[in-house]
């Protein structure tokens, strides 16, 4: 084995770009390990773990690019050329436009800019966000690893100026019909959303679109906004903004269950807005929501269904459990079960969206009493080893431990591909349940990147005289950049049963495992 490295001083690239390049280089047959990273302390640890750290690399800074490769024969020059080609391709995605070196110079260049989107490493992100707010710019802060004290300081500054401070850890927003970061393209309409959960917000947007409604504005707050330390500052400001927006007639709030006093504070602000509203504190206090005269939703799909009814001036009812008739669903379930062997009994959920996984856990727990997970609802069901499923399990593959040194599973399917094959080794598995999230930010062909592995897994079961049922939901619209119909076709072609919402996919999978 030959190990070679190259250091390019003062060549900064963002982590997602570098991870995607690394992945392409590692896929070569003649490469054992490839690491293309900036010289941060964390990356030096990573290089050390694969035996590629040396004194020269130790001296690099976070501004220096390191290309280090372990290979069977010396093809280093060829590999470096390929890395450079890939980097220049990725860099040219934003065109040949002027790219100023600092936020100050960008503001000078575009003084009428009104939104700053920040996805820098967490250690630097808060300072840049503060600078943006001081310059009267609204901020979407995608980065995580920002402290809660910094979050509080940023949001206090934003509120004092009447500015949006979406995040930290805000993945989804749509302002003036422009999807930002991870976001679907949906119809324009009169429903405004304030969301503290990324894929939860995406699911509600997509379902609103599916039911014929549309969105006016979608404001993200970041997952910690409703914690006591932050006190719902951005959700409150978001509600007030939608209250004053003549194009918004219905407001939808979505968040994991907040602390009681924060929920009350938010609902009071919502009451003052005078607008119709649906609230989904996923698995939270519906009584409190009703006490304030608002509609509570029992799933993300249900929140959308009721919001669209309100937006059309209709009486909101619960969303049907399935779009298809009960007879049709029961027949599909029976067909799936008839092909299985008696020892197949477990559901395995492999999710890329955290809130979609959380919704699955809650729906499943209501009927079955519990399900194991890396983000379990109770300690009793927390997996001992998060990489090994046990009995009924649903995994959030976007959780930190699965994303060290790798892009999020919504960008890169590698982790999920490996997990699909791993589950296929377990002959007690009956159903694989998955979400496929489309929209800006996501993989350009998520269904295509999963289809071959699904076929392989199904074949492994068939070779054992068994049958693997795969149930999926494509969270996307026909306006998304991936081509919705093609994504659906690719999954159908792999033998996947598709449901039109996350909640329905979970219910279908539960029907299959019930009584097995």
């Amino acid at each position: 084995m030959i190990a070679k490295w190259l250091i390019k001083e003062n060549s900064y690239y963002d982590s997602v770009t570098l991870m995607l390049v690394t992945k392409e280089i590692e896929a070569r047959d003649d490469v054992e390990n490839a690491v293309v990273v900036m010289g941060t302390d964390l990356n030096k640890d990573l290089l050390n773990n694969v035996g590629l750290l040396n004194d020269e690399i130790r001296k690099t800074t976070a501004n220096d690019l390191i290309i280090a490769v372990k290979m069977k024969e010396d093809k280093f020059d060829e590999i470096v050329a390929k890395v450079e080609e890939l980097l220049s391709k990725k860099t040219s995605e934003v065109g040949e436009d002027y790219t100023p070196p600092t936020l100050d110079s960008a503001i000078k260049h575009m003084p009428d800019s009104n939104m700053v989107v920040i996805s820098l490493p967490g250690a630097y992100a808060a300072d840049e966000a503060k600078k943006a707010l001081e310059n009267d710019k609204h901020v979407m802060l995608f980065s995580d690893n920002v402290t809660i004290e910094q979050e509080r300081e940023l949001k206090e500054l934003a509120v004092s100026k009447g500015l949006l401070m979406m995040g930290p850890d805000c993945g989804t927003a749509m302002i003036n019909q422009v999807p930002l970061c991870f976001c679907n393209k949906v119809r324009k309409g009169n429903i405004g959303i304030v969301g503290a959960s990324g894929t939860g917000t995406q699911e509600i947007m997509v379902q609103i679109d599916r039911f014929g409604g549309g969105c006016s504005q979608v404001i993200g707050t970041g997952g910690r906004d409703l914690k006591k330390e932050i006190g719902g500052m951005m959700m409150t400001l978001g509600i007030q903004a939608l209250a004053a927006d003549p194009n918004t007639e219905v407001i939808v709030l979505v968040s994991k269950p907040p602390a009681y006093e924060i929920a009350e504070k938010v609902l009071k602000t919502l009451k003052e807005s005078g607008k119709k509203a649906v609230v989904n504190f996923i698995g939270g206090d519906d009584e409190l929501v009703r006490k304030y005269g608002f509609i509570a939703a029992n799933s993300l799909e249900d929140a959308a269904y009721k919001a669209v009814a309100l937006a059309k001036g209709e009486e909101p009812k619960d969303a049907p459990l399935f779009e298809e008739s009960e007879e049709m669903i029961d027949k599909m379930v029976a067909d799936e079960r008839a092909k299985m062997s008696p020892d197949q009994k477990y559901l395995r959920g492999l999710f890329s969206g955290g809130t979609l996984c959380d919704e699955a856990l809650k729906l499943f727990t209501k009927e079955f009493g519990g399900i194991y997970s890396n983000i379990a609802l109770t300690d009793e069901y927390q997996l001992k080893d998060n990489k090994n499923s046990y009995k009924h399990t649903a995994l959030d593959l976007g959780d930190d431990e699965f994303t060290v040194g790798r892009p999020h599973p919504m960008i890169d399917s590698y982790t999920r591909q490996q997990m699909i094959l791993k589950e296929a080794e377990d002959q007690e598995v009956a159903v694989l349940l998955m979400d496929v999230v489309l929209g800006y930010g996501s993989n350009e062909d998520p269904a295509g990147s999963l289809a071959d592995h699904i076929k392989l897994a199904k074949k492994k079961f068939a070779d054992r005289g068994q049958y693997l049922s795969v149930v999926a939901y494509v969270c996307g619209t026909k306006e998304d950049p991936q081509n919705y119909e093609q994504q659906i076709e690719k999954l159908k072609d792999a033998g996947v049963i598709l449901m039109p919402s996350n909640a329905q996919a979970v219910r279908f999978a539960m029907k299959v495992v019930r009584g097995l």
């Binding site: 003062n10 900064y12 963002d14 770009t17 900036m38 010289g39 941060t40 800074t61 976070a62 501004n63 220096d64 990725k90 860099t91 995605e93 934003v94 436009d97 790219t99 100023p100 070196p101 600092t102 936020l103 110079s105 960008a106 260049h109 575009m110 009428d112 800019s113 009104n114 939104m115 700053v116 989107v117 920040i118 996805s119 820098l120 490493p121 250690a123 630097y124 840049e128 009267d136 710019k137 609204h138 995608f142 980065s143 009447g162 500015l163 949006l164 302002i175 003036n176 422009v178 999807p179 930002l180 970061c181 400001l237 007030q240 903004a241 004053a244 927006d245 800006y440 930010g441 950049p481």
Partner: protein, 57 residues
Amino acid sequence: MKVNELFKQELKVINMGLRSFAADIKSQNVEVIHVDWRPVAGGNKKLASMLSKLKGK
């Protein structure tokens, strides 16, 4: 509130960090500037903090 002024304006974005976010915004014919950001003082936090004090910030 400034947010409501934003709702009436054309969105104009400055992007810092992942280039793909800027590319997505640009693909929708929305004006966007990508900042060619790099860590202050090569990521040396002590040096960066001294520099920022020198600038009086």
